[in-house]
């Protein structure tokens, strides 16, 4: 890539891991990351307490509103495990991707903004590796953020509501252990749903030297796409919007599992990751680093 790198001997494979480790440490030791995770952990608490208060009189939620509100909310009172699904359904449209947008948008542009990017490149790791490490750290954040929501929801659900066998949305019953397994699978799918946005954010991040601009653009794109997904006249393009199949994670709660939407979602995320990941690579490896 650069002449400096070419001159140095090929870096050992451990370099990538070292780089990744330091990236992870930097990402998760930041106050803003911890604050984002804190906000995410608070959402299930809010939902759980609200449902608990509302149903204190014995009624079950959602009846008046005709089933409005996040998915699964009516089942929470019967089984605390449903709070996990409700919390993920409530945070997936906005809170989770916003947090991911902040982290991804900041990845390269933030370093450039702080004037630390060129020092990172002085190390003989190479730009591709640095980009990969940044993307891996962002994906790790997707996973951690999702798990934070899920674990917080599980804890709140266990505290406030009974646990036990649960009824799938197809009406069949599954044991609590299998329910937990599905909850974990759902968390993984939700985390995977965010990888497309993470790649998009990383690409935006390579375009500018301002961390704030990259974050704002990524979150702005997220909001735009969410709005476009609601406009019925645009149904022709909607299947290709990265957020279109996000709620398909609920299909894991069907019996038997309905894979169509899930697979479409994962394929779409892989496509976004490939397109914007390679675009980020094209941009970043050919970019003049001035800061």
């Amino acid at each position: 890539m650069s002449r400096a790198e070419a001159a140095v001997r090929a870096p050992s494979p451990l370099w990538t891991l070292g780089l990744l480790r330091s990236e992870l440490a930097i990402t998760f030791r930041r106050w803003r990351t911890l604050a984002l995770l804190g906000v995410l952990a608070a959402v299930p608490v809010l939902v759980g307490v609200a449902v608990r208060i509302e149903t204190g009189g014995g009624s079950s939620p959602g009846h008046g509103g005709g089933g409005d509100g996040p998915a699964f909310i009516t089942q929470i009172t019967n089984n605390g495990l449903f709070l996990v699904f409700t919390a993920l359904a409530a945070t997936l449209p906005f809170f989770l991707p916003m947090a991911v947008g902040v982290i991804a948008g900041d990845a390269i542009a933030g370093e450039a903004n702080a004037g630390t990017l060129r020092y990172l490149l002085v190390a003989p790791a190479g730009r591709t590796r640095l980009l990969l490490a940044k993307y891996a750290a962002t994906m790790a954040f997707c996973l951690v953020a999702t798990l934070v929501v899920a674990v917080s929801a599980l804890a709140v659900g266990a505290l406030l509501f009974p646990l036990g066998d649960l009824t799938t949305i197809s009406g069949t019953r599954i044991g609590f252990a299998e329910g937990l397994g599905r909850a974990l699978l759902i968390a993984l799918v939700v985390a995977a749903s965010l990888t497309g946005l993470a790649a998009l954010g990383l690409f935006v991040s390579t375009l500018t030297n301002s961390g704030i601009a990259a974050m704002a653009t990524t979150v702005g794109l997220l909001i735009t796409v969410q709005i476009l997904d609601q406009i019925p006249q645009l149904h022709a393009v909607q299947p290709y919007l990265f957020s279109h199949h996000w709620l398909s994670f609920a299909d894991l709660m069907r019996e038997p599992v309905y894979w169509d939407g899930l697979l479409k979602n994962l394929q779409l995320q892989a496509l976004y990751a490939a397109v914007f990941g390679s675009a980020a690579w094209a941009r970043f490896t050919a970019k003049d680093i001035t800061a």
């Binding site: 079950s60 959602g62 089933g67 949305i169 009406g171 397109v275 050919a286 003049d288 800061a291």
Partner: protein, 412 residues
């Protein structure tokens, strides 16, 4: 190159050598290629999957109809995609009231099969079906992050709406066994209705083969011969070559355009579904509505199949279930038949759903017509037209507006 870059790379060590504009642009070939490959895949894979109709031994239309009649599929599970486009504005449940002509006006629970299955009357829906013999069937309407299931197991019939967590319970005995064909949206149900109306005014042909849901199928085309009065253009039924089960049903209107009803399996298996599929116990805390509380006619309607299929031809025997509300008489025969009944409501447009405030609204949807019968309002869809005369008579049929007026003129 260099002139453009001179003030950019002050900090970089490699001032003159690096990337020319062309070499930078070359890198963007990678994402562009990825997009291109993806677009090609999206465009080509369905085309490749569609190619090649299977080679099957020739059969006559008569043999194929017999094959359908003899078909005895007891166990199956699969996914059905059903699209209905009656050309109505999206009015929620209102249009089903229009189509059936007799509203139920019930304030039932949201798990009530009647209120749910009427949703099928417009738009595209995905259903999952499973059946194991006469006593155990299940049909689930897939919704966004929710599902509505109708489960028939032995003598129990359960409706479960996961979105509102409400349960509807009826017993098969209560409904006089009507629940036995309780999957009203299967291609088979549509096909049976269509084949029932095959008579000398109909041409039935075998039009090649097709692959539906990964299975080889014959395509049977039913076409009314005297296309003068009817709005039905053609009906195409894909029949599984091995089991004789109709796999796909498409009804195109005489006016052309998109299919009015298109119901087909996207995936099907003839293995016995897991027994647990049909087990249902109401979840704790769910609101259970018993059929008795919900009113008798609701259960009946559900068993009859509130889906559009059961109603797409109003001369069919399903009309009889409205006998208590006016006793329809059928004018004409075959595809041109028109059902006539007395709505009992005098003076203008009665509201089919029984809510007075929708009357004016419905009136605005129809066209005023007049003839020797007097005056009336015609409600048009792409398939079914209905004429409500001002003296309370209702003429319904899959026929054109003119045919309705003519029937009203001669029928009085």
């Amino acid at each position: 190159m260099a002139p453009y870059e001179s003030d950019d790379n002050a900090g970089a060590g490699e001032v003159d050598t690096p990337y020319s504009g062309r070499r930078r642009a070359v890198r963007y070939v990678v994402p562009v290629t990825v997009v291109g490959v993806a677009a090609a895949t999206i465009g080509l894979v369905p085309a490749l999957a569609d190619s090649g109709d299977p080679d099957l031994p020739k059969v006559t239309a008569q043999q194929l109809i017999e094959k359908i009649a003899q078909s005895d599929v007891q166990q199956l599970s699969g996914t059905v995609k059903i699209s209905t486009d009656l050309g109505l504005p999206d009015l929620g449940g209102l249009e089903s009231g229009l189509i059936s002509g007799v509203g139920k006006g019930g304030e039932g629970s949201s798990a009530d099969p009647a209120s749910k299955l009427t949703e099928l009357a417009s738009g595209t829906h995905t259903l999952r079906v499973a059946a194991d013999g006469q006593d155990r069937q299940k049909v689930s309407l897939i919704e966004k992050a929710a599902e509505y299931s109708l489960i028939h197991n032995g003598k129990d019939v359960w409706g479960y709406d996961s979105k509102s967590n409400e349960v509807f319970h009826g017993t098969a005995a209560d409904s006089g066994g009507k629940h036995k064909d309780e999957v009203p949206a299967l291609p088979k149900d549509f096909a049976d209705q269509a084949l029932k109306s095959v008579d000398d005014t109909t041409s039935v042909t075998v039009d090649g083969t097709a692959r539906i849901a990964g299975r080889d199928a014959y395509r049977l085309v039913v076409r009314p011969k005297h296309a003068s009065g009817t709005t039905v253009g053609a009906i195409s039924i894909a029949v599984d070559a091995r089991t004789g089960l109709p796999l796909k049903f498409t009804l195109t209107p005489a006016s052309g355009g998109a299919a009015v009803v298109d119901a087909g399996f996207t995936q099907v298996s003839f293995a016995r579904p897991a027994a647990t599929t049909f087990d249902f116990t109401p979840p704790k805390g769910a609101k259970v509505t018993e059929e008795k509380d919900a009113g008798k006619d609701v259960g009946e309607d559900a068993g009859k199949g509130s889906g559009p299929g059961a109603r797409f031809r109003d001369s069919g025997p399903e009309r009889k279930d409205h006998a208590e509300s006016g006793g329809p008489t059928v004018l004409g025969k075959g595809w041109n038949s028109i059902a006539v009944f007395d709505s009992g409501a005098e003076g203008g447009v009665p509201s089919p759903s029984g809510n007075g405030d929708t009357g004016g609204f419905l009136g605005s949807l129809g066209d005023r017509v007049s003839g020797t019968f007097g005056k009336g309002t015609v409600f048009s869809t792409r398939l079914i037209n209905a004429l409500m005369t001002d003296d309370g008579k209702v003429y319904v049929g899959a026929v054109t507006k003119d045919a309705l007026v003519k029937a009203a003129n001669t029928g009085r």
